[in-house]
Symmetry: C3
Subunit: 199 residues, 3 copies
Amino acid sequence: MILTGNEIRAQMGKNIVIEPFREEQINPNSYNLTLHDELLTYEELVLDMRKPNRTKRIKIPAEGLVLNPNQLYLARTVERTETHNFVPMIEGRSSIGRLGLFVHVTAGFGDIGFCGYWTLEMFAVHQVRIYPFLPICQIIYHQVVGEVTEYSSNKYQNNQDIQPSMIYKELMPDWEAGGDGQKTFDFEPELVTAESREG
Amino acid sequence: MILTGNEIRAQMGKNIVIEPFREEQINPNSYNLTLHDELLTYEELVLDMRKPNRTKRIKIPAEGLVLNPNQLYLARTVERTETHNFVPMIEGRSSIGRLGLFVHVTAGFGDIGFCGYWTLEMFAVHQVRIYPFLPICQIIYHQVVGEVTEYSSNKYQNNQDIQPSMIYKELMPDWEAGGDGQKTFDFEPELVTAESREG
Amino acid sequence: MILTGNEIRAQMGKNIVIEPFREEQINPNSYNLTLHDELLTYEELVLDMRKPNRTKRIKIPAEGLVLNPNQLYLARTVERTETHNFVPMIEGRSSIGRLGLFVHVTAGFGDIGFCGYWTLEMFAVHQVRIYPFLPICQIIYHQVVGEVTEYSSNKYQNNQDIQPSMIYKELMPDWEAGGDGQKTFDFEPELVTAESREG
């Protein structure tokens, strides 16, 4: 069973926390979440599931930013949520999907007990101009059956920022914990200046 | 809880309307919906969430149409549906997904009370030939918990056609209501003819 | 209602079979499934919904394989599952989605009664190195309401391998059953050698 908008309101401060919460973001069976003004993109030639992958931070200015196709943008919601005894789930809004913008990559479900900002995985079919703080997705709540053991993990719980994948921690449990989580390039970036071209 | 196919049949004419309805489209826990014979594509260099975006209409002939990768196609179901007291949801069929054809862009959930045709957001990984009236997706129904306030909106309720995104109505509430909803190009389309090329 | 991890464990050997089953793959409201070491890609210029489409088999070696963008890879889970009286559903894991790797193409839901390996439809936004036997996705179980009629089909039930789309069986019911399910090219592959170019 999915919680109606009225039931989401009734659960606020009990099993559900959404901060900030605004009445007008309630839908018949979901609640709209908004886009924060920062993005991360990966800075690697080939991503690798066994290693941390470097990222770059991009600001979305008030006048908007054009997303390009063939590029993954990680983002986060403005809202921090906590969910107990329900399964929270992120879904795109149809108004966003109709512009060809994916907001997650087959991974809409959260875990019971998840606390934090939602990392969005954005992928655009066509160039599309986005704006900070727009209602980009919705959160949906499913009831559960069975005894609850809440989510706890060293990966994404209580995150404070956009969170790139940390699957390397799981696949490579001996990964040096004291490192800076950054991979170094094992090649020399090519330096081509006007001068060296002429030379 | 998700309605079984038998329960969908039992709810027909009560909380659920599907027109036309054909017994053979019932699945164990969903109902197959079919593709109408028209598509819309956007006609803009860059889509913009704050403006209406122009579209072009394409007919799918009986002999099929090849969809191209890197292109969003909006389509609609043949079926008009009404759903009360359940959450309706559109999902791809596995036979369609196994050919690399997305039928929605992270926006499968509808709202309790939605009445109309379902707009599909189609995106193909490889070139793929599609045919009109084929069973392209399935509708799934979730039970709800809590008091129901049905969907009503000036965006997509009681639509009669494929519906491009109307998020600009929400982001720019002062958008001129009397306009034709069409953006004009602010550049002159380049005219290149065989003659001008030779000239 | 979605089954908690504890309820999935309690249903094992009753309504749910997962083989092999490992306690550490249980999540708060799902169970992680792992990637087998083989992939299929289509070998057609244009895929066609009315015909079988040829495929090629690729092995994922222990040192990993780099997936390319703009390419669909069919894969399967190591695990064979059986589900009675619940709706099984496949979802990506967020750690995988955060690397831009889709594991299904809008077709996460299975049917009540489905028995077999899960065919995954993988699509990468960026080049990404994957490894055999990694936990790639999760299975989620929904309770149902209504009388159950289990899935039975000549398409995917009791499959033993990765299963390409068989929608042609449905769209073209007279398709020659005795054939090898392989389409033949109706053009001569172009032969261009250094010699013929100079000639």
